[in-house]
């Protein structure tokens, strides 16, 4: 894959994290933590597993850590782990329904949030935040999936 394509993918992930940064200070009062950055990354791996491998996940994670995280290595770790799991079960995911997919991806993002709180901010760990975030992210995933698919088809029609 060309570098310019990686740049486009990275830009969408950064846009997702930027959205999280902008919206989370407002939504956290409603016990909701959005995870657009992580979900967009997961979408790209799910949509193009043959193009994006461990090195890409590691690089995207490093950039996300440098710009948005409080600890270098956190996004790298989760991106690599998520990438591995998606690669492992990619054929099963292809026959999953939207409901099953949103359940899996929302669950992954909730696990990401839980680990973020446990590692970086244990005082603020809250089950309520996790449960509400899981439900809302599951709904948002469907919309995100459709938008990202339309975007991918318009941009990467040759891939």
């Amino acid at each position: 894959m060309k570098y310019s394509n990686h740049l486009i993918i990275l830009s969408t992930i950064i846009l997702g994290f930027w959205l999280d940064d902008s919206l989370n200070p407002l939504t956290i009062k409603l016990f909701l933590e959005l995870n657009f950055g992580f979900l967009i990354f997961a979408y790209w791996i799910f949509a193009m597993p043959e193009k994006l491998h461990s090195a890409a996940a590691l690089f995207y994670g490093l950039v996300a850590d440098l710009i948005f995280s409080n600890a270098i290595g956190f996004n790298m770790l989760f991106f690599v782990a998520t990438s591995y799991i998606i690669h492992l079960y990619v054929f099963r995911f292809r026959i999953f329904s939207y409901f099953q997919l949103s359940f899996f991806f929302s669950g992954s993002s909730t696990f990401y949030t839980a680990c973020k709180y446990l590692l970086l901010s244990p005082y603020n760990y809250s089950y309520l935040v996790l449960i509400i975030s899981f439900l809302i992210n599951a709904v948002l995933w469907v919309g995100l999936y459709l938008i990202m698919r339309a975007f991918r088809r318009s941009i990467f029609s040759n891939l």
Partner: protein, 280 residues
Amino acid sequence: MARSTPTNTPIRNYAIGFFLSSLLLFSDISYGTFNPLRGFVNASTLYVHIISKDIFANIITTFSSFQKNRSLLQENKELNEKILQIRAKDFINRKDNEEKFEIIDFYKSDLSLLKNNNVDIFKIASIDLRNYFCCSTHRIFLQNNNNVSADKNVPVFAGESFVGQTKAKYLNFIEVILFSDTSHVLPIKSNFFYCDARGKGKPMLISCKLNKNNQDFKNQIGDAVYTSGLGGVFLKDIEIGFISSIASFSVNEIEVLITLKANPLEETFYGIMNEETDEI
């Protein structure tokens, strides 16, 4: 795309990535290895943000240059900022004068003990809202356009109370750790107790853990809390907040929750006492 078989990345590559990122994460969380790098990135991002904001503001100003009251608005803005600066400076001068009178009364002489307070006023550049509302790390960045030398761990005040301490300096920005940050400890006192209050990781909240069997503890919700001056960093007897909750924490301990007086979200100017300042 769907017809092509995904290539199998060897597990070895994932394992290397996993261990590498775990190592980086561990070293950063445990030893803060990448703090300077993160600070530099934050400062650079702030620069870009400020520059883009300036460009945007210039465009708006150009378009509105035909308005007659433009100069008046500008003057009004400058005067407002001046008032806020004077208010911030006035607070520390007043407290300093009180301290001076107390000491003069006490010692009756030896005015040479006192030096002049030298306060630098900085405008806020950014507050880390991402973490402020949800997480443990509560930091703000102050614009240091004149490149004033600001030492580490110097008290920072805003409005009529202290808000935190300087942590580091990146490019032309000073990073300030707020009291509500979980890694910050502040020696405080009330009428009935002294303690080291730790940030709660929630906006404007710090807490103290006290022995349940402490018979002297007679505080009630709403009682004022002051800096104790222990440790020699903060001036003593500055009101920093009030007790907002008293709850049982464990079998032998109670947790006293203190709501801070100064709200960083409402303050524009912050004062830092430089090295010539008295430590009373």
